[in-house]
Symmetry: D2
Subunit: 334 residues, 4 copies
Amino acid sequence: MLKLALLGCGRIGQVHARSISQLADKARLVAVADAYEPAAQELAAASGAEMRSSAQIMQSDDVDAIIVGTPTDTHYQLIHDAAAAGKAIFCEKPIDMSAERIRDCIVAVKKANVAFLAAFNRRFDPNFSDIQARIAAGEIGDVELITILSRDPAPPPISYIKSSGGLFRDMMIHDFDMARFLLGEEVTSIFAVGSSLVDPEIGAAGDIDTAAVTLSTASGKICQISNSRRASYGYDQRLEVHGSKGMLRAENTLKNGVEVATQNGFQKAPAQHFFLERYEEAYRLEMAHFIDALNSGQTPSPSASDGLQAQLLADAAAQSLATGLPVRLANDPA
Amino acid sequence: MLKLALLGCGRIGQVHARSISQLADKARLVAVADAYEPAAQELAAASGAEMRSSAQIMQSDDVDAIIVGTPTDTHYQLIHDAAAAGKAIFCEKPIDMSAERIRDCIVAVKKANVAFLAAFNRRFDPNFSDIQARIAAGEIGDVELITILSRDPAPPPISYIKSSGGLFRDMMIHDFDMARFLLGEEVTSIFAVGSSLVDPEIGAAGDIDTAAVTLSTASGKICQISNSRRASYGYDQRLEVHGSKGMLRAENTLKNGVEVATQNGFQKAPAQHFFLERYEEAYRLEMAHFIDALNSGQTPSPSASDGLQAQLLADAAAQSLATGLPVRLANDPA
Amino acid sequence: MLKLALLGCGRIGQVHARSISQLADKARLVAVADAYEPAAQELAAASGAEMRSSAQIMQSDDVDAIIVGTPTDTHYQLIHDAAAAGKAIFCEKPIDMSAERIRDCIVAVKKANVAFLAAFNRRFDPNFSDIQARIAAGEIGDVELITILSRDPAPPPISYIKSSGGLFRDMMIHDFDMARFLLGEEVTSIFAVGSSLVDPEIGAAGDIDTAAVTLSTASGKICQISNSRRASYGYDQRLEVHGSKGMLRAENTLKNGVEVATQNGFQKAPAQHFFLERYEEAYRLEMAHFIDALNSGQTPSPSASDGLQAQLLADAAAQSLATGLPVRLANDPA
Amino acid sequence: MLKLALLGCGRIGQVHARSISQLADKARLVAVADAYEPAAQELAAASGAEMRSSAQIMQSDDVDAIIVGTPTDTHYQLIHDAAAAGKAIFCEKPIDMSAERIRDCIVAVKKANVAFLAAFNRRFDPNFSDIQARIAAGEIGDVELITILSRDPAPPPISYIKSSGGLFRDMMIHDFDMARFLLGEEVTSIFAVGSSLVDPEIGAAGDIDTAAVTLSTASGKICQISNSRRASYGYDQRLEVHGSKGMLRAENTLKNGVEVATQNGFQKAPAQHFFLERYEEAYRLEMAHFIDALNSGQTPSPSASDGLQAQLLADAAAQSLATGLPVRLANDPA
């Protein structure tokens, strides 16, 4: 029975608390903390966990692992504290906005020899994990071409955009991790283009809302990613992997399975709109994986190094966009 | 090189003439006839065939086979004439409205020992023939349950309805033949219900426009058919066959393959509206089968007996509707 | 905050307990009971409810409503007891195997003036409830033809079959309720055929495993239902409603959304296999509806009378199968 | 009644002859020519056209328009000859391998003031032309992101590869034209990556078999194209256009519409394998457009300038691949 503490009781923290309650036979949420005390109080009441301060949690003997769901700029210190306290760490993405600081975190985690999971939830989506498993089983031979299409239903508030680190670090970072997950080989070159077509305010804020990126690997595999901050038909999350023996793809998850036939044709429901709904099961499976790994002494995945690599790709994409030139990657295995 | 003559230059006759022109390496349309001479003239000009009278065609030495595409009430005499003249016969469905008279035709055809094809075009549709071939190959084990859904885009004119012989003989007869084609076993019992929901004039004319029929066989196989004279979304032609090892089904053929995604969801085109468009390839393959069979000395299929059995099912359905009771069938193998 | 007690801690009881735990802001499971004490103990521990006897529950002041998830032959007495005790009742289907005894229950419930829900879970499936709502909104005009296809992945043990009341009362009863839900009009005539094709032992036990039923209403609406106890490709649950202006249909829910393309074609996952997985959300929404109705003073639905009508249809189907004749229904509104 | 002559009686010439025969009410194939006389004889016999030499055709008064279906390196002279003779020209793609020489052809055509169609058949595919029409009608607002996926079922012979001009000029040129057709705006920048993953002999011949290209326009629209010379599941031809109000996409055309359900899931047929089958209707509609345009005095489309622009994109892609850098385009409107 793993004992967990949660730092950060916002939207994603609540998702994790709910996941843990559904894994009651394997783990228990012991404590919760939030800089905004009423949020911690409310989640404590709903989950049956104790409200404690972050500092208290670091020193709690009844806590085996810490879930870091606080704002990104606090991750660095909390990871160092938790590692020093010998706690396993489940950290929301991104680990940090600076690759240098992520490297520091990796050093601290390695030194303390604690388990660490970088929470790229999409790897646990039943469709995407099935595709990865089929690739690993050789079902489509060698991977040759990957296409990832990722579009948000609507842009976030402009205030969010301004502090987001930009589309590549905030949104496409998920697709960079997915590309690495499916390519099975490090990216050696990246080229990015981007525009502000959805909302001129996004462009005025120095960001883009529409982007396309090309990744290449040493052996010649290619991955194309495109993002848009807007999709009238819902949260658009598709990908396909073309290999030497076949192709695997995942279509969108629709709001329901009803089809309406009229003189206009055959109409199905829009895609699910909200990411928490779309990836509800992925969040649950991600937490189950973390708990199972710790309970069985396995290493959870994706690792802090995976977190670093995705961030390096996002940085390189931003550099490519700024220079108009492709960027070669060193692929520092950290 | 098979030499063909066409009796009846209406809509379906023109389809057959076009099919023959696309099979120019195997067959040639030598002569056409129509009671309405301008129709014959026009098709003669378009196809390069000679205009002749029916009587002339029966006596033409340069005609191997005759396509009967004239009104149903003329079939009986033309079949007898063609058989007497030793010509192979391709006869549009229904062979005749009276099962007794169909039996007479079968006798005449057998006595003359001429080839005969009852033109149930749907057996040649690439989807439906593939399903039948897969059943025959044992791909889904033993057939257990068949569902046939057949809906016209819109009802025919009331004048047509009045002389049509009723929905079972005019429309569902195709589904009765399809059921027999896929069941691989004769029907022993039939139960029919029907309503006039689409157009009260159809009810006033003594017919129905909405119907459902249940067929059973001696070994316990079951087939459900439903028909409607109206479908806002196009010509609806679907079926599925459930067997001990799996299920086969054919969806509608849509007008095109475009999907439009908007806030209302994902919309595909309506089904193809017109039966000549929907079954264009079936008509061509049906004619190719007839020609290939004659050229190679094989027996074409479906046979006159198949035509009789479908008619007997339509008669029994009408009887079931009239009495409100299921009807047992003798399954006279004719 | 509604206080609930659960009678019966088996598979379906556990589902209901889990649903209630997810509705913690609206209701609380106070007590559980089971004739087999360890089952009650285990669910009490997992849910935080107290273990009590049925008799204690009936007399508990802290219980507003009772969920009856015990074997069918105990429902009658428990409904009478709960009604006498003034408790609202959520009763698993079927209410009873005898229509006469269901009528007794209805009388007892009416006399005690307690709320009652007959747990036809499929009405709460998001696809099917959406279809019903669209019909009610007039989206496809008048309902004309309904097709319901329902196939289990595999037959239950023969021991279960023997005490099940037969396919119509055990399996198709869900489809009878669904037909009534969607037709919006009582059934006036029913005709049934059935065979034992899946397992000869089922036939030897006097039951069927493959069946087709036709329902008609006074205004001429038609519904075709077919059932099989076996489907190699999973739990097959589809339906479509054809109306004067269009058609609504719900396809199967597949295990995941991955498509594999190889030289054999494009392959999607099988349908979800297990009914508790397929209808997981329906069970949750059903319980939410019951709780919301009681909390707001509304009448929950489907009613005990709905339970009776479905049972009467199952009885009539059995009679039709036995006699080979259609059966007319009185449609006693109970 | 337009009078046509066909230069080149190979595979594509035969397709055009067949198309013309199906447009018999509008046009007639008067003459055919081929350097290999038996090919011309055979097609003359099949089509009813006369066999003539190219030179004779240029001087034939009974020829209004010339279809150029000969090897690419002969196009230049034939276009000049036909233009000089005042004949309208339907020219297979590519017009020429050299952009400079295409410019010469454009000058010759303009000077002679003859109609010219560059035969990018895919613009006439019913799916793709419908998508373009919907974009033009504003159905999805402003175009923002286009994804084109194009994969051949299997690579051509290595001898063909060697003289093909390379993947960009031989295969992706269709996608470049499609991108321009759908973007509605000229491409200003292009970036290409490519690998030899399918067959090492292709790499040894200096070509690639797997490629991805990114196109950008002045207003910030983006198009991603990917190509592979191999697809186990058939001829893969898909595209989607994402706009400010929605998304349009076209899926593959499958061999038939049958679905097989077994314990492995739900399987549909592979995509049609052969390009002449896949684009059969596109070829027919392309010819119909050319004939209709000439008969009505309209300008056929796509133009010679469209042919030049696609070639310039292919050249730029090859340059980008060779240099590893994006290439800016002047967009000479020729």
